[in-house]
């Protein structure tokens, strides 16, 4: 993996539904596609010690995360007959109810798109150096723990 060659998966703030619609729309011309699988992460208003999460502030080791994502992308394309794959992750503040992750896989047949999407979600949660700082409604915060 050469440095500086990776796509940038990060976007500032929440991912807008209109952005997702645009991404979907762009695949109309790829008439070999039969199925798309999409995963969206949404910030949940969890309760922590009696206080409610009002937002998550994401930071990342961006260069490393983009390089890691490229490794994952190559492994996924080797494993599944995909037509394409797109991943976007928020940085900065994302409020509860807003979207922080958008994984989008497309393939001629549904099985590849569905399996690849799930695997990408699992791998990126485990492997990408990204951190979520949960902002609570009493102005304190705590670091998110993935389960």
């Amino acid at each position: 993996m050469r440095e500086g060659k990776s796509k940038n998966i990060f976007v500032s703030g929440a991912i807008a539904p209109a952005f997702i619609a645009d991404s979907i729309e762009k695949h109309t011309v790829k008439t070999g596609i039969g199925g798309h699988s999409i995963f969206l992460g949404q910030v949940r208003a969890d309760e922590k010690d009696g206080h409610r999460v009002s937002a998550i502030e994401y930071t990342a080791y961006e260069d490393m995360a983009n390089e890691k994502m490229e490794v994952i992308r190559e492994a996924i394309f080797e494993k599944y007959p995909l037509t394409c794959m797109h991943v976007y992750h928020s940085l900065g503040i994302v409020k509860t109810g807003e979207l922080c992750l958008f994984v989008f896989t497309s393939a001629p047949h549904r099985k590849a798109a569905i399996d690849a999407c799930e695997e990408v979600v699992e791998r990126l949660k485990a492997e990408l150096p990204v951190w979520g700082r949960e902002v609570l409604d009493n102005e304190t915060h705590q670091w998110k723990v993935n389960r």
Binding site: Y61, M64, L101, P129
Partner: protein, 77 residues
Amino acid sequence: MEMTVLLFGRLAEIAGTAKLIIPAVEDTGVLAAVMHERYPEMATVRYIMAVDRQTVTSPVLLTAQNSVAMLPPFSGG
């Protein structure tokens, strides 16, 4: 010779900065010891180190050219 250490998540919070310039050390084991001495709270935090954007699980030799980072458990998505 100096080296740069990138800090993330809770570790950046403990140090009060995301980037530290420290006197060069010979390997990641010594770096951890130096950091724990400077910021005792770091010794209580779970983290891994990355050298040139690759995570390392045992101590590796360092030069000032390496980019070293200390990474708490990931919680993206």
